[in-house]
Point group: C2
Chain length 220, copies 2
DNA sequence: GCTCTATTACTCTAGCCAGAGTACTTGAAC
DNA sequence: GTTCAAGTACTCTGGCTAGAGTAATAGAGC
């Protein structure tokens, strides 16, 4: 079975593992349990996902009811295959780390396309935003009763741990940039100087090789 | 302008910022620079993305050439609007932290659907895999010459920092589970015991409320 | 000189997913 | 007693994306 990037189908399976539900109830339940913060949820996807699970035989239509003149509600139930698939899929996601392609990692890898001074300023702003959201999270945590079971906060704690690591990383990067301490910064800066002066493309590349010589012959 | 989740269009813009290219050259360049590790790349997406950038006027067709009987190569160039868009978009991605919906965060938030003992074992395996990939990364790092510019390794360093944080988090979680130290574990375990005994759905929920009383009335 | 694999350069298709749109109901406020 | 926001329950559209498929050439090895 192919695992989609989005965990929404898995979330649907786990909800139906609890009890039969209609899609709208799934969405309100997920929302009420704050799953929206860890799982991308919207109606369009939800109904499509439910239909595709049904086609695969992982869920079946139970009953359809109607209250007053409102749209009909279609209640779905988990099949045995669905329960198995849910178990396998969730196990895999817990067990196997998979490459994640985050925005910031991509941005870092393309950072060379803007001049170092600008990048530095943007990273300072990022740091500020990260620290703010971190302290907001701490605030929310502080407002939760002491005896609230940690189990229900686990995904938030994980996100928070990653955020702390990102803060430490960006903080160090900012400091390194401020002190011109990052290896390769001269090339990076020179590229943008040349471009400012009207040199671009192959021509600029040639000039860089001339100026920096062997240093440009890495390519791991 | 709407930012797609995938950074591929941005990568295309930054490549054309360097010099005009045809799509196939973009893909080989990205691959050669190890950008595949931070940016999801495949042909289907690449050609679609290039076409959509063209439609938006961010890039234009330069020349088309043909060598022998091979398929024609269409070379694209960045427009001024494209350069502006690239700059804005990359700035945004560096500046604004955005929610990331990782697999593992989703898996943690749905972990309740499998029994605690199983989850513990899966997390142990995850930890092992994480440690392995961490030491592999260290190995690769060690094989790189000392004077290799850190700037070109920055996204790998970021990924590595996050991985270290995940290792620390999972390690602690495993220990907590081993010592029955995580708040809410009794409810979690009991849910699966009841299910084993044939109680599910509303019935099980009622029983849980009976047994655990007030403890189940959180919902932040 | 013939086969086999790798490389070059795309094209096609089906499914996924986000966001906006629809249409009805309930309850609160003035 | 009527308006207006919020809630209920979906449907539609169109863009995005992954993976497989195609079709030619170049070079390595026997």
């Amino acid at each position: 079975m192919k695992r989609p990037a989005n965990a929404l189908p898995l979330a649907v399976l786990t909800l139906l593992f609890e009890k039969p539900m209609h899609p709208y109830e799934m969405s309100t339940t997920l929302r009420q349990r704050n799953k929206e913060e860890s799982i991308r949820l919207n109606y369009g996807s939800l109904y499509a996902v439910v239909e595709s699970l049904r086609k695969k035989g992982l869920i079946v239509v139970g009953e359809t009811t109607r209250e007053g003149n409102r749209p009909e509600r279609t209640v779905y139930e988990l099949t045995d295959e669905g329960a198995t698939a849910m178990h396998e899929w969730l196990s895999e996601m817990l067990r196997d780390p998979s490459p994640q392609f985050t925005d910031f990692e991509a941005a870092l890898s393309l950072m060379g396309a803007i001049p170092p001074e600008e990048a530095l300023e943007l990273l300072r702003l990022r740091l500020k935003a990260l620290r703010l959201s971190s302290s907001q999270y701490e605030g929310v945590l502080a407002s939760i009763p002491e005896d609230f079971p940690a189990f229900f906060l686990i995904e938030g704690e994980y996100a928070s741990a990653l955020r702390q690591a990102e803060i430490a990383f960006v903080d160090k990067l900012v400091t390194d940039l401020e002190h011109d301490r990052l290896g390769g910064m001269q090339v990076w800066r020179r590229i943008h100087e040349l471009r400012e002066a009207g040199h671009a493309g192959e021509e600029a590349t040639a000039k860089l090789h001339e100026e920096f010589g062997g240093l440009l012959h890495w390519d791991i």
